[in-house]
């Protein structure tokens, strides 16, 4: 009888130990995961405003947005319009892309007609759509909001939501 009780006690103690260790271990893992999350300052930083009013056709502007290079190009009449990708500010068409190859993250160069990635030979058209080589997707359009002739990167406006839907 005493033996039975003792066994039940050890079983209970074992279960309690197991549960505590599992919860504690899980909490520790969560803490370690959190330690590697981007810091709040990193997440909060990064609204970049660009003035497009003075840009001429074919002109290229480059800004840094959340540590990434963003290219803003006012399209010329020779460049094929693309309603699913062009950002229309004040009636003018712009290509606005994070200039990072969707293959493995190199920075493609604008040749005057296309974007060419030196790393593995990927190519993109003037709207940033992949046309040749390993890149699997068009270059990413950063979140933006339109404010007159200003483009606010890092805020999501209705125009961005529309493009995002058309691209997904």
């Amino acid at each position: 009888m005493a033996d039975c009780k003792r066994r039940a006690f050890f079983k209970g103690a074992g279960a309690a130990l197991g549960i505590t260790a599992t919860v504690g271990g899980g909490a520790a893992l969560y803490g370690m995961k959190r330690a590697w999350d981007p810091l709040p300052s990193v997440v909060a930083a990064g609204v970049t405003t660009v003035e497009t009013g003075a840009m001429g056709a074919g002109e290229i502007g480059r800004v840094e947005f959340r540590g990434q290079p963003v290219l803003i190009m006012k399209k010329t009449s020779e460049m094929k319009p693309n309603d699913n990708r062009d950002v229309i500010v004040n009636g003018e068409r712009f290509t606005v892309i994070i200039l990072i190859c969707t293959h493995l993250g190199c920075i493609p160069a604008w040749t005057g007609e296309i974007f060419k990635c030196a790393c593995h030979g990927g190519e993109f058209d003037s709207s940033g759509v992949n046309t040749f080589g390993p890149p699997p997707r068009p270059m990413v359009i950063p979140p933006f909001k339109i404010d007159g002739t200003k483009l606010v990167l890092g805020k999501e406006g209705p125009e961005y939501a529309k493009l995002k839907q058309a691209n997904s």
């Binding site: 990193v42 540590g67 030979g121």
Partner: protein, 411 residues
């Protein structure tokens, strides 16, 4: 209660407390190694020595290195290289050592493959070895990031981006690994922690497991012979040393090892003093710049073969990534791809697998060469053919040939 008497020597004093005599007997004096081996069996000890050399040179680099994106480049290229006494030497030893250790690893692996040392009880030796390859690769990659030059930065950018291809969690995972949207300070400091503490600790643990895994099955030999260790050890201890098929780890086996090791170290220090350039990419002497990609990005030579398997499918990134996944997983499944599981024999005694072995070695070298060439024009197609050949050799020909061999032997 143990018995402690007045000891007549330091050795005896220690033996009473630590059983040092028994310890030496078990791990060395009566740890039996077959005689029928060659210099290739010394590469295990060469690797252990290289790990020691890397650890010691690394400790001295650590005393001046500064893990901060603003300071890292100059702490390495100015402070360590120009100011610290013999800093340049520690750096060259560390960089050349990191490169040459992979040469030794590949020789060691191909020795194991050639003599069939990965099966019939030796699977765990091989699998812990595969873990060492993985951890050494992680160590090499994280270390390459620390000088924060252009290659450090862009290699980190490209490799962390690979995780973005994992379905659903990929993009978030990339940001998590980097601690930012791009590779920057948080990334450098965490890879620094991995490089100088976390991964070396793991390596030491796995190294212990690797050597322990050798004890039960014992080291293989040139003919794959199944040796009766107890009988041969008895013969040796009875004094019939020349007819016994085994020798003790210490002093006999180590005497051979130390000779091969000495030759290897002469070669190593020749590289350190006269040919260190191959381990120091000139592009990495330009400080990291996140806004400018170098025209041609390539990893260190020891990653080239798997990088080329990735690039080989130049027309489809997902196929390339799948092949790359297989290339990295392949060491772990390798013992099970040889379907003739119970027959240990060197390749020259295997009628079909010998062709497989040389073809495999040839394709691995080919992939390494083409991994360094720009991926344009005909090179892209050569890379494609090599990648497909690699996959075919590993996933189809190896199981097929070994199955046929087994059938023939038994039938």
């Amino acid at each position: 209660m143990a018995h402690f008497e007045k000891a007549n020597s330091v050795g005896e004093w220690l033996d009473q407390r630590l059983a040092t005599k028994e310890l030496a007997r078990v791990i060395a004096l009566e740890y039996w190694i077959p005689k029928n081996i060659n210099f290739l069996w010394s590469f295990g000890m060469i690797l252990a020595t290289m790990f020691m050399i890397l650890t010691i040179s690394g400790m001295f680099l650590l005393m001046y290195y500064k893990p901060d994106t603003q300071l890292a480049f100059y702490s390495v290229n100015y402070t360590i290289m120009q100011e610290v006494g013999f800093g340049w030497l520690f750096r060259h030893i560390h960089a050349v050592g990191a490169s040459i250790v992979f040469l030794a690893i590949y020789i060691h692996m191909f020795t194991g493959i050639y003599y069939g040392s990965y099966k019939k009880g030796r699977e765990m030796i091989w699998i812990t070895g595969a873990l060492l390859l993985a951890t050494f690769s992680a160590e090499g990659f994280s270390g390459y990031m620390l000088p924060w030059g252009q290659m450090s930065f862009w290699a980190a950018q490209v490799i962390t981006n690979l995780f973005g291809a994992i379905p659903v969690i990929g993009p978030d995972l990339v940001v998590w690994i980097r601690g930012n949207f791009v590779v920057e300070d948080a990334t450098l400091t965490r890879f620094f922690a991995l490089h100088v503490l976390v991964i070396p600790l793991i390596i030491m643990g796995v190294l212990g497991a690797h050597m322990y895994a050798l004890r039960i099955p014992h080291v293989n030999n040139q003919d794959g012979e199944d040796i009766d260790y107890e009988a041969e050890a008895r013969k040796f201890k009875a004094g019939d040393r020349s007819r016994s098929k085994v020798m003790p780890f210490w002093p006999t086996f180590m005497a051979e090892d130390i000779f091969t090791l000495a030759v290897f170290l002469v070669f190593f220090f020749y590289l350190v003093f006269y040919h260190f350039g191959f381990a120091m990419d000139p592009i990495n002497f330009i400080p990291a710049n996140s806004m400018k990609t170098p025209p041609h990005i390539y990893p260190e030579w020891y990653f080239l073969w798997s990088y080329e398997v990735l690039r080989g499918f130049f027309f489809n990134a997902n196929m390339g990534l799948a092949a790359f996944g297989i290339a990295n997983a392949f060491p772990f499944i390798f013992p099970f791809l040889d379907r003739d599981t119970n027959h240990v024999a060197p390749m020259h005694k295997r009628p079909l697998m010998k062709y497989w072995f040389w073809a495999f070695l040839f394709v691995m070298i080919g992939l390494t060469v083409w991994g360094k060439l720009p991926p344009t024009g005909a090179n892209a197609w050569v890379g494609f053919v090599l990648s497909v050949s690699w996959l075919t050799l590993v996933l189809i020909i190896m199981p097929l040939f070994s199955t046929i061999e087994k059938k023939r032997r038994e039938g």
